[in-house]
């Protein structure tokens, strides 16, 4: 992990309030593993850029890498001031990023059948993970859920990937039934687990969804990993701001989402920590 001043290659609106940004960062592209993130300054570099509001960097998952071009992709939704500032960044401007940070997903033994469960923006890191898993020859079931069709962010990309890779099997859920399964993506997970034997699961999305997913996985006895979010200060493990509670022999302890996570074993997370 390091600090990089990266030129922005592209910053394009790709959906409802969602942007895809590509940074030129060969070191990051070479090192980043799925589930890791970058800690991104939302103020572009240059004279007059030493702005203290908003003050903190924003954590964004690595969404993809192109090692040959030295490019790293981020996929983010504008939800507040920081991401709104990012959305205004133009090609050629410089962004200061730290990373790759955190512990990513652990890869399964060869020839596994896995399921990826994405809620909302959870697709950002899981798409990267899917690519990686396919590269190693695993069978990948990808469940993507959202409130409605418009919020199924990578729908096109996922369907395209299905065309290309027979071992990639996406399915979709929307709360309002506007596309795919009508209901939560965890419902889709139950359907899948009831039908086929899955070796391992990976989930990323809103906390409530992760919690439910962890419950389903426990019931079916499928080991899984979840990627958590928490408000971050440093992003590098120093300030202890990003605590999440994990179960331990004889109690619990607080772990740092930035350095001990963001990926944790689904069964270790103490969902009652707030």
């Amino acid at each position: 992990m390091q600090q990089h001043e990266t030129p922005v290659l592209q910053n394009k609106k790709v959906g409802l309030d969602v942007y895809r940004m590509e940074l030129f960062a060969p070191d990051v592209a070479a090192q980043a593993r799925p589930g890791q993130f970058l800690h991104v300054s939302v103020h572009t570099k240059g004279r007059g850029s030493d702005c203290y509001d908003p003050l903190l960097r924003r954590p964004l998952s690595v969404h993809g890498v192109d090692v040959k071009r030295g490019a790293v992709a981020l996929l983010y939704r504008v939800v507040g001031r920081g991401t709104a500032l990012l959305a205004r960044v133009k090609e050629g401007e410089l962004l200061d990023v730290l990373g790759p940070l955190g512990r990513g997903f652990s890869l399964p033994p060869a020839g596994s059948r896995v399921v990826l469960v994405a809620g909302g923006m959870g697709v950002a890191p899981l798409y990267f993970l899917a690519e990686e898993l396919l590269r190693f020859g695993h069978e990948v079931h990808f469940l993507a859920g959202a409130r409605r069709l418009e919020e199924l962010y990578l729908l096109g990309d996922l369907l395209a990937l299905e065309e290309k890779r027979p071992s990639f099997k996406p399915s979709f859920a929307t709360d309002d039934g506007s596309y795919g399964f009508c209901g939560p993506v965890t419902g889709l997970l139950e359907v899948l687990l009831a039908a086929v034997k899955v070796d391992r699961a990976y989930a990323c999305g809103p906390r409530q969804m992760l919690r439910e997913a962890a419950g389903v996985l426990a019931r079916f006895g499928v080991p899984g990993e979840v990627s958590l979010e928490e408000r971050m200060g440093c992003g590098v493990g120093a300030c202890l701001s990003c605590a999440c509670r994990v179960r331990e022999a004889g109690g619990f302890s607080y772990r740092r989402v930035c350095a001990d996570g963001p990926v944790f074993a689904a069964e270790s997370v103490d969902w009652e920590d707030r």
Partner: protein, 310 residues
């Protein structure tokens, strides 16, 4: 012109330059080793250490505010024993004064931690965080009352020969009174300021944004309050001071030095800029060269005017 001298000494601790990392914002230093050469720092104040391990507060522990952050970490730390066994040795390879920030909720706690650290190789000094709630006295912080503050410092002074830097809270009517009391009680220097008491409300949830309800405000937002505190205490007492509160650039550090600080610490700025400490050091050096000043110590307190006329 010769390279200007940046070295200072505070409470008997020799620093290569006046720039330290502030407690709680720099972990145990090691977390920042990938970003800065730790050997370049003037000193590091490590995360607050208590007698027993502390789990810390439930999340959320941090919320961003305009030009600042509110934190309520809750002194999460492994306890003094584990600190001595595991962390201190890992810091030995660095040429870096390690100042251990100690905390407690009873006077005994403070004394216990101080005694456990006394005489250990690799401990350059102690910083006593007196902003902790005094459990014996209704939970008001030790540091808001001159007498309680002096009690803590006196007890620590008795059990250790280490240099003692006492960290003052700004949440008081009269910081000079507390400063005077702790110097009397045996402090070698003061560090100021700790965080301002604040809170933030999540209006959608209609609840405090931090699980702990209130938290400590830090970052550039509080710098004017911190500079004023250093100014007042230096003016009244002319004691050695480590200034902190919102320092992110060399300019900021110079405000504190000119107000009377011998050394400074960079806190929250590490969070948004891991290289902040080193950038401040480089900026100070540049400033001295530009202004033709041979020794940074010439600038200590100059804004008060007595020595400032040149």
């Amino acid at each position: 012109m010769a390279k200007p001298s940046l070295s200072v000494e505070i409470a008997g601790i020799k620093m290569k330059n006046p720039v330290a990392a502030a407690s709680g914002t720099f972990g145990f230093g090691l977390e920042y080793a990938p970003f800065v050469d730790l050997n370049r720092l003037g000193a590091v104040f490590v995360k607050g250490i208590t007698r027993y391990p502390q789990p810390g507060n439930p999340p959320p522990r941090l919320v961003e505010t305009p030009a600042g952050v509110l934190n309520a970490i809750g002194l999460q730390n492994p306890g003094v024993e584990k600190f001595v066994q595991e962390i201190l040795p890992a810091l030995r390879p660095y040429d870096l004064p390690v100042i251990v920030n100690i905390a407690g909720t009873t006077v005994d706690d403070y004394a216990f931690v101080a005694a456990s650290l006394d005489g250990l190789p690799g401990v350059a000094g102690l910083e006593i965080n007196i902003s902790c709630p005094n459990v014996r006295h209704g939970g008001m912080a030790f540091g808001v009352d001159p007498a309680s503050a002096a009690l803590v410092v006196g007890a620590v002074r008795e059990v250790t020969g280490l240099p003692l830097i006492v960290k003052l809270t700004p949440n008081v009517t009269d910081i000079v009174a507390v400063a005077g009391a702790v110097m009397e009680a045996g402090a070698d220097a003061l560090s100021m300021i700790n965080t301002l008491l604040g809170m933030s409300i999540d209006v959608r949830r209609r609840r405090p944004a931090l699980a702990n309800i209130t938290g400590g405000l830090s970052g550039p937002a509080i710098r004017p309050v911190a500079v004023r505190a250093v100014w007042e205490v230096y003016r009244a007492l002319k004691v050695p001071i480590v200034g902190m509160g919102g320092i992110a650039t060399a300019q900021d550090a110079l405000e504190f030095i000119m107000a009377g600080a011998t050394a400074v610490a960079v806190g929250t700025a590490n969070l948004f800029n891991p290289r902040a400490t080193v950038e401040v050091i480089e900026g100070l050096e540049r400033f001295l060269v530009e202004e033709g000043i041979g020794d940074i110590r010439e600038l200590i307190g100059v804004a008060h005017g007595e020595r400032g006329a040149r």
